[in-house]
């Protein structure tokens, strides 16, 4: 086949399957500005920044124009520049412009492009606009005053995460990006993965900062500040500062943290090794008994929340293991005070994570003891970089230092938790070890990679284990549908919400695109191959933790400290529909709420409601019932759920409505047996 070319500003550029002109232009070395274009998302074509002149066709938005052989295009003309500047001016005129105090300052595309294109003044008057700020969730802050309506977050949540928490509402001047009914992210189905924030070009969606809390703990001389650093953080820092290896970046980070005033510095990879041992043991147990398979991993809190909201029937299949962050904190809060000789109430546990959802996880009530969270503060990589900046730390100048003991020892298995496929590989290394511990297979390249869904088969003992590794929740959704329909079947499934795994977490420094994630992925595996120990079972301090505190993997003590349970979770806060009001003012009434949330709806809750009304009518006590339809009592496993005067009843199927009325409702109405069966 002969080669195809187009001409960009007089230069021949070969076509190589690029989907749009924009990609070709960028390949030609011209960084066309864009707001609404992301290679991983569908093309929106709204920002107009990427316009070029195409010979014979005039001005075209290159992001939505397919390239064809012989095209001649000019990127830099009077017209294209005028359009870009005009578009920018319009955006700026409708923007709050609080740059100096914005957490995106210096990382904001609106800022950069205004500067790059020389927009120095805005000729349009600023209209009145509202700053609606949502800072109610544990992880993210939304500020409508900084939104430029590029729609990137909408498409990210819908296309990559398969959820669709955000959408455009209203139109024309009133158009804005909103959750359902303008609720807070804390009150909707958002899983707090923060991927929307990774693609927001401005400061309209940012990571919620806990920097002030961290400084406060550090400045308090009574407090001993213990910090754990997650595996993916070292890869991002290495990439961000241009340090050759993740190990080196980690060493420099340790030095920096000591200078900033953190007292003890540990590695979450140690806890990841512990997770591997607990989760691997759990898996081998399930594999032997054939129960609760496939086993889903549970170290990604965004995935856990997603499963709690969308797949109540799968919760039993999730590993009961806490995530490495929470295993670390439980262990630290319980045993470190004694080891370090400090009062428990004077120890603060901070974690440094690639992830916004970890902030939500740390705040889950089940991870607190007497109201005190196991993990006191969660800082993202972004926040730790800012703290280093605030403290004047010159990262590149620092000599690396080593971690503290005992939780500073890790194996390579604990490090790869940071990349998609890592947890699966860590478990495989352990599971294939065999009772005599002779098998020493370390690298399982079949589970590595960046594809959204990967499958592999590996012999574990005499069993052929089928694995799936998925990243991105839309991919998880697709996979789960196949598992539920029986189209696919697996023994173990690793799910990470972020594309690429935690290396692409929303707490990581920007740019956080697929190219950055790929670089970080390489760094993580390099880090792994440098370790002497690469099987979690070989971690000497994990072994010691069992001897000293935990007895054996999955023992009773280990369960108490390192495992957890999940719960059904509603997607939207507080809504009830009045279906029928009681008209009888004299007699005692009964209030019945039938759940029509998804879990119950799919189990026939609407028919339950309908039949309930019909039977009550027939029996002649409709006027004494107040009937409401409600959304999710967080009892989805026991659906259809019905609440009667505040008491929850499970499994009220259409078939059991008669029995339910007779046994639960009628006694409350003071109706005796005589009424029944008529």
């Amino acid at each position: 086949m002969s080669k195809e070319f187009i001409t960009v500003d007089g230069v021949h550029v070969e076509l190589n399957g690029e989907k749009n002109l924009l990609e070709v232009v960028r390949k030609a070395g011209i960084d066309l500005p864009t707001f609404c274009y992301h290679s991983e998302l569908s093309v929106f074509g709204a920002c107009r920044m990427c316009v070029c002149e195409v010979e014979g066709r005039g001005l075209q938005a290159t992001c939505s124009t397919p390239p064809s052989n012989g095209m001649v295009i000019k990127t830099n003309t009077d017209k294209t520049m005028r359009i870009r500047r005009m578009a920018l001016e319009l955006l700026l005129s409708n923007h709050c412009g609080d740059c100096p105090s914005c957490s995106k300052n210096g990382n904001c595309r609106l800022q950069t492009l205004a500067q790059r294109l020389g927009v120095t003044k805005v000729r349009f008057p600023k209209p009145q606009f509202s700053h609606e700020i949502d800072d109610q969730s544990a992880s993210l802050v939304r500020d409508s005053g900084k939104c430029i309506l590029c729609g990137d977050c909408v498409r990210m949540c819908k296309e990559v995460q398969g959820i669709g928490v955000l959408d455009f509402v209203g139109r024309g001047w009133d158009a804005k990006i909103s959750t359902a009914f303008g609720k807070s992210l804390a009150d909707v189905e958002c899983v707090l993965c923060g991927q929307c924030a990774t693609c927001c070009p401005t400061g309209a969606i940012t990571v919620k900062s806990e920097i002030d809390k961290a400084w406060k703990a550090i400045y308090d001389t009574k407090k001993t500040v213990v910090v754990q650093v997650a595996p993916a953080v070292r890869a991002a820092l290495a990439d961000h500062y241009g340090v050759q290896s993740g190990e080196l970046a980690m060493g420099k980070l340790v030095a920096a943290l000591r200078r900033l005033g953190f007292d003890r510095i540990y590695d979450t990879s140690f806890a990841a090794d512990l997770t591997t041992v607990e989760e691997g043991t759990e898996f081998l147990g399930r594999l032997a008994s054939g129960e609760r398979l496939p086993q889903f991993t549970s170290c990604c809190p965004a995935w856990v929340k997603y499963a709690e909201q969308f797949h109540p029937s799968l919760l039993n299949n999730l590993s009961s293991c806490k995530s490495p962050q929470q295993m670390f904190s439980s262990l630290a809060k319980k045993h470190l005070p004694e080891t370090l000789g400090v009062e428990a109430e004077n120890m603060v546990v901070i974690s440094i994570m690639p992830c916004t959802a970890k902030k939500f996880e740390a705040a889950r009530p089940e991870f607190a003891e007497n109201g005190v969270p196991d993990t006191d503060i969660v800082l993202t990589s972004q926040e730790v970089i800012r703290m280093m900046d605030e403290g004047g730390i010159q990262f590149n100048e620092l000599a690396p230092e080593s971690l503290d003991m005992p939780f500073g020892i890790k194996t390579g298995a604990g490090v790869i938790f940071g990349a998609t496929g890592g947890v699966a590989e860590a478990v495989l290394r352990l599971a294939t070890l065999g009772a005599d511990r002779t098998s020493r297979k370390i690298e399982f390249h079949e589970v590595r990679g960046m594809e959204g869904i990967r499958e592999a088969e590996v012999m574990v003992g005499d069993k052929n284990v089928r694995l799936a590794v998925v990243n991105g929740l839309a991919n998880a959704k697709e996979l789960v549908a196949k598992v539920e329909s029986g189209e696919s079947s697996y023994d173990i499934i690793e799910v990470m919400s972020c594309r690429g795994g935690c290396i692409g977490g929303a707490g990581q420094p920007l740019p956080n695109d697929m190219a950055a994630r790929e670089r970080r992925r390489k760094l993580i595996y390099e880090c792994d191959s440098l370790q002497n120990l690469r099987n979690a079972a070989d971690n000497p301090y994990v072994q010691e933790a069992y001897t000293k505190w935990l007895q054996s993997p999955n023992s009773h003590v280990a369960h108490e400290l390192l495992h957890t349970a999940y719960r059904h979770r509603r997607r939207l806060s507080g809504q009830v529909i009045d279906v029928q009001e009681s008209t009888n003012v004299d007699a005692q009434k009964v209030c019945i709420k039938v759940c029509v949330g998804t879990g119950c709806y799919t189990k026939g809750a609407y028919n339950t409601l309908h039949k309930l009304m019909a039977r009550a009518e027939k029996k002649g006590y409709t006027d004494r019932l107040e009937i409401k339809a409600s959304f999710c009592f967080e009892n989805c496993g026991g659906g259809p759920s019905v609440e009667v005067d505040g008491n929850l009843h499970s499994d009220v199927t259409p078939d059991s409505v008669d029995k339910f009325l007779k046994e639960v409702v009628e006694p409350k109405l003071g109706l005796g047996k005589q009424l029944v069966n008529h």
Binding site: K158, I163, G164, V165, L166, D167, F168, V169, G170, R171, S178, T179, A180, F181, G182, K183, V188, E189, R571, L572, Q575, V576, I577, D578, V579, Q580, E581, V596, G597, T598, Y601, Y606, H610, M613, A629, F631
Partner: protein
Amino acid sequence: MTQAVLDRPTGQERSFVRVQEIIQECGASESALIPILQRIQDEYRYLPEEILSYVATVLDISPATVCGVATFYAQFSLVPKGKHVVRVCDGTACHVRDNRALIESVRKRLKITGKQITSDDNMYTLEIVNCIGACALAPAVVVDEQVHGQMTGEKILKLFNQIDAKDKEAEK
């Protein structure tokens, strides 16, 4: 928006059962969303938040998407509407014929202030709309889908009185 929905009048029995019927008749798929919303609005006279969530549940789409569609089209309202909808045309022809005075007398008669569009007794909703194509009759008003031309403050008050009287009659 949320506030208005929460404050919605009690004592107006709405037929939730109809919602399920409507969804079934239109087909429970995303492509039927607009007709479903239209018919629910006919039923409730507006789109209550909880009902939109229910529609999202049944159609298996995100509530934000349903909300987006419901707020995009001018025909939908997320706040309760009165029993009678009064649309005053604000097209150019009506505008130059002093529809401002007309709007003012309607607002006064219905005792609505600020951003309020529905009277406290939930009987009337006032909407200011773009050209309704009755320019020859300017200023024009549409009351419950019926066009009334060459309106004056006086004429419209008379119209309200007639409607009120008819409602009273029907109540008996």
